[in-house]
């Protein structure tokens, strides 16, 4: 694990963190939505545009060669970052959602027939639920969901066996963007493989926050987004096992994904380009490569440990407030740095708006997980989510500031 300076020293790399919101210091606790970008990443993108900018792959001239080297070099960095066997297994998309659509669209074509079964969970982000609903509909298959145990905030292991039996594809999130729950992916993947099912993992909330190794997960595909891990917007990744990607049909058509076209048909390019149609997000891929380097240097183990400390602190401070209800596992070790909560007598929207006046950024809503939110018995929740650049005193300030919400609505703190 990387040693280096304490994580708090890295705050200086993020210019936006010294911003003031109406005179108040910004306390950014909306990292599950998107994270900020260090100057190292911004600098790399700027440098690309100022020195190397060109279209990739088909150019003989110097800029095009340099741009291609930088773009393909980013692919290698990202492959190493998640322990992929080869850069061929890294497909660049525009976000995790496109990656999951690609997986659902193309893998289900290969693997799912009429009357067959796809399995997901009740705690999915819409991006890993609706594409599978659509795929199931298209192929006359059915979608079954692993249930969330509302007491623990974990998937109900008791039903795994029955639900996974006979599945063709199991697609689940590694870490929930609402409950924070870290799912036992390796275990589920092992069960699924025994059934001959492919396993797709939504890593949008895990890859940025902990060491993720596709080999140890034992899955077939993994999707994640650059903007949630210090990278730019406009870039996502789908990792897939090479021999599986080889067999999957392409998803979007045109540009680089083609080997040969005639007026009547086409042959596809080799991996990974077979899945990359049109001019790719070149600068964004290069930026994500720089983000991986940055995170590696910070140390994914250290990041996870730091976020776990912040989560523990938040859970403990919120549990002292009797009118606050926290959703998801109560044990910081079982969850990512995501704390969703509600307050008696205050709508989540108003909580977020009132905290904003203190400079605190939290998110309120269904967090693109409406079915789960409804199962929690509410229409919306407020959510504080952490990254390595957050500090204990920010968490304390956030917990303390809930008093402002009570003040507005005349509530009294019902202490624990």
């Amino acid at each position: 694990m990387a040693q280096g300076p304490p994580l708090s020293a890295l705050r200086k790399d993020f210019p936006i963190l010294s911003r003031r919101i109406d005179g108040k210091r910004l306390v950014y606790l909306d990292n599950a939505a998107t994270t900020h970008k260090p100057v190292q990443v911004l600098g790399r993108i700027e440098e690309y545009y100022r020195r190397e900018n060109a279209n990739v792959h088909r150019g003989m001239h110097t800029l095009s060669q340099e741009a291609t080297d930088a773009y393909e070099g980013a692919r290698e960095r990202i492959a190493r970052f998640i322990g992929a066997r080869s850069p061929k297994e890294i497909i660049f998309t525009k976000n995790a959602t496109e990656a999951l659509n690609l997986a659902a669209g193309s893998l289900s074509e290969l693997a799912v027939g009429e009357g067959e079964k796809i399995v997901s969970t009740e705690m999915e982000h819409h991006s890993n639920l609706v594409p599978w609903q659509q795929a199931a509909r298209r192929h006359g298959a059915r979608l079954e969901l692993l249930e969330v145990d509302m007491r623990t905030g974990l998937l109900d292991e008791g039903t795994f066996k029955e639900k996974i039996a006979g599945a063709k594809i199991v697609s689940l999130t590694h870490s929930s963007n609402v409950l924070g729950t870290i799912n036992p992916v390796a275990k589920i993947a092992a069960m699924a493989r025994k059934e001959g099912a492919y396993v797709v993992v939504d890593g949008a909330q895990s890859v940025p926050h902990m060491r993720v190794d596709v080999g140890s997960l034992g899955c077939d595909m993994l999707a994640f987004s650059g903007h949630k891990m210090c990278g730019p917007t406009g870039i996502g990744v789908l990792w897939g096992k090479e021999e599986l990607l080889e067999r999957m049909p392409p998803f979007l058509f045109g540009g680089d994904m083609i080997s040969e076209v005639t007026f009547s048909g086409a042959k596809w390019n080799d991996l990974p380009w077979k899945f990359e149609a049109g001019t790719p997000p070149i600068a964004q891929a290069i930026g994500l490569g720089a983000a991986c380097d940055y995170l590696k240097k910070a140390g994914m183990g250290r990041i996870r440990a730091h976020e776990m400390r912040l989560t523990k602190l938040a859970l403990s401070l919120l549990s002292e407030q009797g009118d606050v209800r926290v959703f998801g596992p109560a044990d910081a070790a079982k969850k990512g740095g995501v704390v969703a909560f509600g307050m008696e007598g205050a709508h989540p929207h108003d909580i977020a708006a009132i905290l904003d006046r203190e400079g605190i950024a939290v998110r309120s809503g269904h967090h693109c997980a409406q079915p789960l939110t409804r199962k929690l018995g509410v229409f919306a929740t407020s959510r504080a989510s952490f990254y390595f650049y957050n500090t204990g005193s920010e968490v304390e300030f956030f917990a303390r500031s809930l008093e402002k919400v009570r003040k507005v609505f005349g509530g009294r703190r019902r202490g624990a």
């Binding site: 007598g345 929207h349 108003d350 708006a353 919306a380 507005v408 609505f409």
Partner: protein
């Protein structure tokens, strides 16, 4: 922006007037805010070109609840033609606060829903039965 949590807004949020249902409504509709999950249903009873009764139900934030409640108060007793001509500005004026972009949907959901209940937005269609949500089903 200024303080949006005025005494009036908080009072209407915590003690909403005109909340409830009507036994035999002549028009109704429900609206929904995809970005936040807020929803409201509005029922009205119209007779002789006037709204004799107006009620809302729903779950929403302080802004949307107060907006619903104030709007129902406002339109009860109003001529149908007048109610149909209510503008966004009118609805915002009721609240008496500055509304940021992000809260516009909260503040305008009740008006949008009322207009749907009273026929096509701004149009002169006859009052019809239960409004269908506008979104298309996949």
């Amino acid at each position: 922006m200024g303080n949006i949590y005025t005494e009036a807004i908080v009072d209407y949020y915590q003690h909403p007037r005109k909340k409830g249902t009507i036994a035999e409504p002549t028009a109704q509709a429900s609206g929904h805010n995809p970005s936040c999950g807020d929803s409201v249903s509005i029922q009205v009873r119209v007779s002789k070109g006037r709204i004799s009764q107006a009620r809302f139900m729903g779950s929403g934030c302080a802004i949307s609840t107060a907006a619903s409640s104030m709007l129902m108060e406002k339109v009860e007793g109003m001529r149908l033609s007048e109610a149909r001509n209510l503008s966004k500005k009118d609805a915002l004026a009721l609240l008496g606060i500055g509304i940021s972009h992000a809260r516009l949907n909260c503040a305008l959901l009740p008006l949008r829903t009322l207009k749907e209940a009273l026929g096509q937005e701004g149009g002169e269609k006859m009052i019809k039965g239960p409004g269908k949500p506008k979104e298309r089903r996949s």
